[in-house]
Amino acid sequence: MINSQSIQPIFRRSCIFLRSSTNVKPCASHQDQINFVAQRGLVASSTLRGPKAPAKGSAVKVVGEKEDKAFIEMDAEKLTKYACINYLVDAETPGPEIKPDSEYPEWLFKMDLSAPRDLEDLDPEKDGWLYWQKLRRRQWEQNKRLEELKTSSIYLQDSKVLRNFKLRQLNVIKS
């Protein structure tokens, strides 16, 4: 086990590496932090996949079931000491070692890793160009959707065919 003083910087760094600092409370307990890191390790190792299936139409024969190499890494010390990225590579460590905080630039810890905001949450005076970028994106998306719908849905067109069809149903005009 590692003590609570040593886990603090490792925890913070792993948060930054995994881009999930928003999900964790700043004053999480020692056990919470270890659990969190172990949990992330689960995500990282379960995403490891075996070799790809052969493409369709190729002459390669499909070999029988392969051994599943995926496993869940529960060793919190290892997870907090290394950036666990290369398990399938034959190497001594599962990834590059995480150095102390002083080795990294300051801006790394001040990065804004919150999820991208919607147009509704932005303010043109505070956020500036971010707002106008989102606004432009929204305009383009809505215009694109509208153009799609205009051709696919007869109910959005001022259609003579549909109008006559409805009038015929009401016996206003004869077919």
Binding site: Q139, W140, Q142, L149, Y155, L156
Partner: protein, 239 residues
């Protein structure tokens, strides 16, 4: 997004190459959207028949057609909860389980990300009986074949909302309105508001007071004797 406008050599003099940004109107924004509190975005499946609890003394029963359930104006479910778009009945009628299933399938298929739909009608509860084919008359009422939901005029059948623009909702709701057993239409919060204002305006400013209400009040041409009781009750507006 960039558009290149090229002046023809033989075009007007003074016109030259110009790069511009394509201009769009201000987009629809969704500040006031309220998502359903239970977090369900799609329409849930409606049970085709009610469940009865025998311990409480409930059991299936047979009734007449009860056309009165679909007559007259709807008094409660006439407004949109989420203030966006919906499907409203124009006439009264009865929705079967097949209609509700059709609505569910078509609406859920057309919903995109961050869009939701909710039911505004209850599940089928009114029994409909049928005698088997070739059976002779008599011998009591036939067995229960299906259940229906009565809907009165002006009732909101379902609501659609979320990050959805009006043409998007209109594209599939107008289509569904034509497939229902009663006359139905697409409504939005704006349309309902507009209608209310128009009604108020007519009530306030109308100088010509000749309408069915006046005809019935003064019993013109002895109309109360030959009009139906429903006409007299709802002043000729509903059947």
């Amino acid at each position: 997004m960039l558009r290149l406008r090229v002046g023809s050599l033989f075009g007007r003099l003074g016109e030259c190459q110009k790069r511009t940004f394509k201009k769009y109107p201000f987009p629809v924004t969704f500040e006031n959207v309220v998502f359903p509190p239970n977090g369900k975005m799609k329409l849930p499946t409606m049970p085709s028949e009610p469940t009865y609890n025998p311990e409480l003394g409930e059991e299936p029963y047979k009734t007449s057609h009860r056309l009165i359930e679909a007559r007259g104006p709807e008094e409660i479910h006439t407004e949109l909860i989420h203030n966006q778009f919906g499907l409203a009945a124009v006439n009264g009628g009865f929705l079967g389980a097949n209609h509700l299933k059709m609505l569910e399938e078509r609406v859920n298929k057309n919903l995109r990300e961050k869009q939701f739909a909710i039911w505004r009608v209850e599940e089928p509860w009114l029994p409909r009986t049928k005698k088997s084919q070739g059976a002779r008359l008599g011998g009591g009422k036939g067995r229960i074949k299906r259940y229906v939901t009565p809907v009165r005029s002006g009732r909101i059948i379902l609501e659609v909302g979320g990050y959805i623009i009006e043409p998007e909702a209109r594209s599939f709701l107008c289509y569904l309105a034509d497939l229902l057993p009663m006359k139905a239409e697409f409504v939005s919060a704006e349309i309902l508001q507009q209608r209310r204002e128009e009604e108020e305006y007519i009530r306030r400013e109308n100088a010509n007071r000749f309408d069915w209400d006046m005809v019935m009040r003064y019993n013109m041409q002895n109309c109360t004797s030959w009009l139906s009781s429903y006409d007299l009750h709802w002043r000729g507006k509903f059947k």
